[in-house]
Amino acid sequence: MRDMAMPRTPVCIAGIGVVSAAGADVPATLNTFATGRRNPSNSLPFESTIACPTFQVDADLPVLPPRYNNCRSLRLTMHAVRQALEDSAISRFDSATRVGICIGTTVASQLNNIPFYSAYRRDPDRSLDPVIDYLHANLARAVGDLLHTAGPRMTIVNACSSGTDAIGVASSWINSGLCDIAIAGGADELSRVAIAGFWSLGVMSSQPCAPFDRDRSGLNLGEGAGILILESAAHAQRRGKSHSFEIAGFGAACDAHHLTAPHPEGRGLDAAIQTTLSQAKITPKKIAFINAHGTATTDNDRAEGKVISRIFGSDFPFLSTKGFTGHTLGAAGGIEGIFTVLGLREGWLPASPGFVNQADDIPIAPTRARTAIRGEYAMSTSLAFGGNNSVVLIRRIA
């Protein structure tokens, strides 16, 4: 597969915006990384009989028009979109600019309103306002409506790789000439349904998560949004803007193995990584670090650790930031793509939060302390239900 992929034209990263339990914006997030402070919460924002830590956003989210305002995932999205547009020095889009919108999510794509559904079961004649809200909550469409844009749009529901996949799709649109600018990333809110679901699968921990650790016991859920503004080089030139970062490659491959578990040898992730290296025409030695998926489940971390060690060697710097954010599902790829940009920009990585002891079943250990980073390229990896594996390669050019 890697031999037949055409070299991609790099896509400029014009701006970034992020919100998670690690911080309401980029500066707050970097402060969290610098201090190593984790803030899992033991109380949920809704009723549930499951006791587990979650990573919640503490931010003043934008107030949206009435039909959109009840969708927290959309409010998280717009919080990050507005940051990213400001970072891009884009205040509005003119009618001639084709703007693609590609957002990954899980919770917003389903009718997950349990209080409403509980009441509906008792009284089917009650108001259906929550259903109408849900029908307006297709994230890509809603963002396009709110920003009055024209161009391709897509809401990706590829489970935990959705955000990374959205970056890949948006990049392909720009490379195909279908749009000049794209708003890409992911968003997800905490959901009682998701908590019950992952609990039922036996992959959630009742402790703060410890990705790649010997004593890891499962994931914690989180919420947030990560949005990148992507731009063609030609459009950036017309705007008179230079960029410091670009999407240098994207790879995706399916394990075709199991509905929820990754391939034990990580064959799909391996293929996706090799694709990005081939697109950028670089060797693994050129990669400065990886922001790994690292959910702290037994299977994910083992498979992912094996692949990273196999391709990059056992001394290679990598980390999982889910110890700061929780697993934000559809948002993860967008958030972690931005964290990858920040690692290249700032020149350092924090200690992988939650990690203490190397695991016997993982031949590599993540960062144990603040680690200086030098290099042009870094990767963000995402693995998902259904065996989806997606990798985005980011390059610092200035």
Binding site: L135, N138, S172, S176, A253
Partner: protein, 321 residues
């Protein structure tokens, strides 16, 4: 701009059948009185060869998987020798597997958050169908599930064209699937804007290849054509809507909705009807009375489906090679 793709194989599970010859025959006859709901017959969802693999699958997954398998089987020769890593998959659905989703909500409410069934959760995510398809066909290229209530299929074909053009894949299996379920039927019946979202079910899948590969027809989601032999529209009311003018000149205009019903995946079913019209070289479906029609029967060499979303047109143009 990216070129059109080639359709190499078609698979469909519809309210009027799964066999393409039988579907074509029914599209050539008057649809008769319209049912309130357009359901897929349960008999169509049986496939003994894969019964064990499908033992936990629900209707949503079965419809998608069987349509995908049919498209794959019918394009077997065109995919021979293509490594599995070079075959991609894109599945789109508006409502997703909502029946399983509501069942999971029932689990939570009836048995408690910590006693809900894991199988119901894992099968209630939008991507479950893609996972089954990829597993059964051993597809190891990129796999994507998307959601949109209007133009999901058009966007999926557009992305498939991009993947093929850039060499991401050599083949892409792309499809749409929707299911009927009592809860959404009841809810949608009370929401005027949603009345077309939950009255039909089924799945349509296409195996696509690059434009230089011989196949059944070409398909292009990039640019609306100015002229077309056959225009297929999901909702004829759009012809009377001044806010959504169709700037395509069509020799004849039909709808396949009286056969397949309305759903978020309607575009895929309109495209199916249009493809079968190309194969028959004559227009199938129900002519729309308010649109110009030719005075003599005309040969159909190309066709276009048309929808709008947020005031933007979304079209799929197909043409015989």
């Amino acid at each position: 701009m990216i070129p059109a793709a080639t359709i190499l194989g078609i698979g469909a599970v519809t309210p009027i059948g799964r066999d393409l010859t039988e579907i074509s025959r029914k599209l050539a006859t008057d649809p008769g009185p319209l049912p309130r709901l357009f359901r897929v017959n349960d008999d169509l969802l049986s496939e003994p060869n894969i019964a064990r693999s499908m033992r936990r699958a629900d209707r949503f997954i079965k419809m998608a998987t069987l349509a995908a398998l049919d498209a794959s089987t019918r394009s077997e020769n065109a995919c021979a020798g293509i490594p599995k890593e070079q075959i991609g998959l894109i599945v789109t659905s508006g409502l997703g597997p909502h029946c399983r989703g509501f069942k999971f909500l029932d689990d939570i409410l009836d048995h408690g958050d910590s006693d809900a069934l894991p199988t119901d959760f894992s099968h209630s995510v939008h991507g479950a169908a893609a996972s089954y398809i990829a597993g059964l066909l051993d597809l190891r290229g990129p796999s994507l599930t998307t959601t949109d209530f209007e133009i999901g299929f058009e966007q999926a074909v557009l992305l498939a064209q991009s993947w093929l053009h850039h060499g991401t894949c050599k083949r892409v299996l792309v499809g749409a699937v929707e299911e009927l379920g009592d809860t959404m039927i009841q809810m949608a019946s009370r929401i005027p804007a949603a009345k077309n979202l939950s009255s039909a079910e089924g799945a349509v899948f296409l195996m696509l290849g690059n434009s230089d590969v011989p196949g059944l027809a070409t398909i292009d989601a990039v640019s609306p054509p100015q002229k077309t032999d056959l225009l297929a529209i999901d909702d004829p009311a759009i012809l009377l809507d001044n806010n959504n003018p169709i700037s395509i000149t069509a020799r004849q205009t039909v709808t396949f909705t009286p056969y397949f019903g309305h759903s978020a995946g309607s575009s895929a079913f309109q495209l199916l009807g249009a493809l079968l019209s190309l194969a028959a070289r004559c227009p199938l479906g129900k002519p729309i009375a308010s649109a110009p029609q030719p005075t003599t029967p005309s040969i159909v060499d190309n066709a276009t489906t048309f929808r709008t979303s947020c005031g933007q047109p979304a079209t799929l143009r197909i043409a015989t090679r």
